[in-house]
Amino acid sequence: MRELATESSVLTVDTAPPAPVLAPPPADTPATARPRPGSPPRRVLRWALIAVVAIVMLTPLYLLVLNAFKDQQDILASPFGFSGGLTVDHLVQAWSNPRFNIAKGYAITILFVVLVNVFSVFLAGPVAYVIARSTRRRFRVLMLFFLAGTFIPSQVLVIPVVYVLKTLGLMGTIPGYVMFETTLTLPFSIFLYAGYIRTVPTDIDQAAAIDGCGRYRTFWQIVFPLMRPVVATMVILNTFSVWNDFVNPQTILGPSSGLYTVTTGIYAAVGQYQTDYTVVFPTLLLAIAPLLVFFVIMQRHIISGLTAGSTKG
């Protein structure tokens, strides 16, 4: 998702004003509010299409949930239904799998998500503020310098980053991993934050300055509290990119560190045992269930955050 957001941002620069991240809806009634039911055959076609796509999208999820409660024989004999009884044995086994401690994987991943988000805001916020409030050339150049980073696909960086981290003695460590993940969030965060801060009137900065407030305090105490929507967008984007990242934790942390995120843990638990469906289905179900519940509850915010991040940028 990080790439999704960053690349698009570059492309929309000249077509859409980057400033307000959560812009008010257009004054015009949205095209979609029009009540036009369509002719009966058209409606039938529409519903048929929707039914087909819903089946194609949801069947894997159905198989995952159902087969997580079945024995291998039963899975092979009747994958879409069940002939034997249902059991929670394999779920219990997956939960206590020595190759992947799911609860620990969740804890570590959540820790990484929190650290990256906190560092990202603390690093990107102040720079964005200086860039947005300065008319000096050097800060415009700095913005371009950061923007260049949105063009670089992170896969290309994995090898040289290993080199850098080894040189710094941070290879295979949490600080090394968090530093790199945080860095990947910086270009787009700074771009979005700076665009947003420009929409905040400078009067309040001046008022704060007159009251004897330093620049640093002005940002954190006066401007930052106004940035809630744009920070929320960025947190959603970063959470997804850190949560779903597989390459970076796999290479930087590596199996030898014993630090498994949800994705690298799934790989360790399932990778070698793909034909044992009593491992595959229960492990995948346990690994994704909390995230799916979170998604269903938060889906409006998540989808609108992602949309805002990639189209308004």
């Binding site: 690349e7 095209a31 896969q155 040289p160 330093g214 779903n244 290479t251 799934i266 995948l284 189209t311």
Partner: protein, 291 residues
């Protein structure tokens, strides 16, 4: 600016700038440097080999196959994801409870990581997977979704599209909702058919969204890695390896990080070139929308 102000500014600017430079800008330069060496991942002083790695990259049949699979997946996937994405966006763009549930159904694979998606589809399409178990129980032949190279390539692309087009749908819905109602109304009054309205009013109005979607899909697909790991593991016989998969395999499995760097520099150049070409081709349409 007084001295204290200058210090405060430096304290605000420097941490991010330094981190960004060390972890992102320096590595890009390093990637190019390492691609000219035989670095194995351990030695502190890799030997300089000039353009040797690049010569070997282009002569390598594995690289050619991976480049073919990657480009095929990127181009076919981009077309499919955007046709499906735009089509379903039109179907579900009206605001209603059913439609927002449908958007969620189309989008949810994105919440799962590509790794999970690959393992799940592997369990469905494998030789003993759900579909083949079902077929054999009915006395039918097993379908080689993942065991035949050509089938596996098509399967890989299909799963990529399955997992990804919901994102395009959601972005297109957001685009469609910004098309001014007055324009559509005017077209309708002028007697335009639904298709004509879509072709000549809606599509030009959302041109920038189309460009963003095309470039996004293209760039995302060019980096396909996780799904190859979990769905096909590059097989059968290395026929479904993508460039990203090959790069990481050569680098971290075979310990040839210099060689892998050369491949990743090639991938970086190809990605940038394709993104630029699409943007350039779409420029006219984009400007039409802005006018």
């Amino acid at each position: 600016m007084n001295r204290r102000g200058g210090l405060a500014t430096a304290a605000m600017v420097l941490p991010a700038t330094v981190l960004y430079t060390v972890m992102l800008i320096v590595p890009v330069g390093l990637a190019i440097y390492l691609s000219l060496t035989d670095w194995d991942g351990y030695s502190a002083d890799p030997a300089f080999v000039g353009g040797e790695n690049y010569g070997e990259v282009f002569a390598d049949p594995q690289f050619q196959q991976a480049a073919f699979v990657t480009l095929l997946a990127a181009l076919a996937g981009t077309v499919a994801m955007n046709l499906l994405g735009l089509g379903f966006a039109v179907l579900v763009s009206r605001t209603s409870r059913v439609n927002s549930a449908l958007r969620m159904v189309l989008f949810y694979p994105h919440v799962l990581s590509a790794l999970v998606v690959g393992f799940l589809w592997g369990a469905i399409l494998g030789t003993n997977g759900a579909i083949n178990s079902f077929l054999t129980s009915r006395g039918a032949e097993v379908l080689p979704f993942l065991s035949d190279p050509d089938w596996a390539t098509v399967t890989l692309i299909a799963v990529l599209v399955w997992a990804g087009f919901g994102v395009n749908t959601v972005l297109y819905v957001a685009g469609l909702q910004t098309v001014p109602q007055s324009l559509l109304e005017a077209a309708r009054i002028d007697g335009a058919s639904k298709w004509q309205t879509f072709r000549h009013v809606t599509l030009p109005a959302i041109a920038p969204v189309v460009t963003v979607n095309l470039v996004l899909s293209l760039i995302t697909l060019l980096k396909t890695y996780d799904l190859v790991v979990s769905l096909t593991a590059g097989g059968p016989a290395g026929q479904t390896q993508t460039l990203a998969y090959l790069i990481l395999w050569n680098s971290f499995h075979d310990g040839r990080l210099g060689f892998g760097s050369a491949q990743s520099v090639v991938l970086m150049v190809v990605t940038a070139a394709l993104a630029l070409i699409v943007t350039k081709l779409r420029r006219k349409a984009d400007q039409g929308a802005a006018a």
